[in-house]
């Protein structure tokens, strides 16, 4: 439960921090883009772990998620596979379209 509050607080800090860095133009545009990227990826993983209990014991007393007690954590494996697919889709699309753009 403690990690739940920490997850929320850190998400708030990352959201508001990224906002003010962009509004105040704290860094050069390229560095700002990297900062926003890091903040968003950090927050997404933070919320998967703290809010969706990825790879952790479920919060509710009422549930015993048997899948989590098996030696293989299938929900984590499927999550990692999904991350792989999502990366292939996003990076692959950008790569192919940039390449086409270059050759046209």
């Amino acid at each position: 439960m403690k990690s739940y509050f920490w997850g929320f607080l850190l998400s708030l800090v990352l959201t508001i921090g990224a906002y003010f860095a962009v509004v105040e133009r704290a860094f050069a545009p390229a560095n700002l883009l990297i900062l926003v990227a890091i903040c968003s990826v950090a927050q997404i993983f933070l919320q998967f772990v703290c809010f969706l209990r990825l790879g952790r014991e479920p919060i509710s007393e009422g549930v015993k998620q048997q899948i989590l007690h098996e030696p293989t954590q299938w929900n984590v494996i499927f999550f990692l596979f999904t991350v792989l697919i999502a990366l292939v889709i996003v990076i692959g699309s950008l790569w192919i379209m940039a390449n086409l753009d270059y050759r046209m």
Binding site: L12, L32, F51, V63, K64, T82, I85
Partner: protein
């Protein structure tokens, strides 16, 4: 006791199945993010996301959804009164978020920046609109669930539906973090 174990097994299977649905939704949204990134230069002479979208409003919407996602998962115990209170708070915050984003859409369309304007705007409306449709169904889900818990109490079926909702709502917030960072903050840089 035997029946109790069986019930837990059904619950675990449902939650795992719902987890797989959420992951398939992640893939769908990643396709839309890729589409948006590819079509971003296609403004057809119109203005880009930096001038078009309001950052302070986006921050307000992000905070609304983040707090609602926090209150949604706050019920550790499954006591009826507490679940109902937290669901009601989550619903109000979610409804405020929904109306705020819908207001942004109206504002864009009224100023002639609808999805028909350019490829960039089409992909913007596709991505944020799909997320908004998810939010609308989540809100409907909450209303129905509040009614069911009110009537039946926290029985096996309502408990299972509530646990699925507790996965679905924070997931929508995670997708919104991507929208906020890449479309709103990224567009303003």
């Amino acid at each position: 006791m035997m029946q109790h174990n069986e019930q837990h097994e059904v619950e675990a299977k449902t939650l795992f199945g719902f987890w797989l649905f959420i992951l398939s939704d992640v893939v769908m949204f990643s396709v839309m993010f890729a589409t948006y990134a590819v079509l971003l230069p296609g403004k057809a002479g119109g203005i880009g996301p930096g001038e078009l979208l309001s950052l302070p409003r986006a921050l307000g919407e992000t905070l609304l959804l983040l707090v609602s996602s926090f209150t949604c998962g706050l019920c550790q115990c499954l006591r009826q009164s507490r679940v109902l209170t937290l669901l009601a708070i989550t619903f109000v915050l979610g409804a405020l978020f929904f109306s705020a984003v819908l207001g942004d859409f109206m504002h864009l369309v009224q100023n002639g920046n609808s999805w028909e304007r350019s490829a960039f705007l089409s992909s913007y409306f596709l991505l944020v609109g799909t997320l908004l449709a998810h939010v609308a169904f989540g809100l409907l889900w909450m209303l129905v669930l509040i009614g069911q818990i009110w009537k039946k109490g926290m029985v096996a079926s309502t408990q299972r539906r509530f646990l699925c909702l507790k996965m679905f709502w924070p997931f929508l917030n995670i997708v919104w973090v991507g929208v906020y960072s890449w479309i709103y903050l990224g567009g303003a840089i």
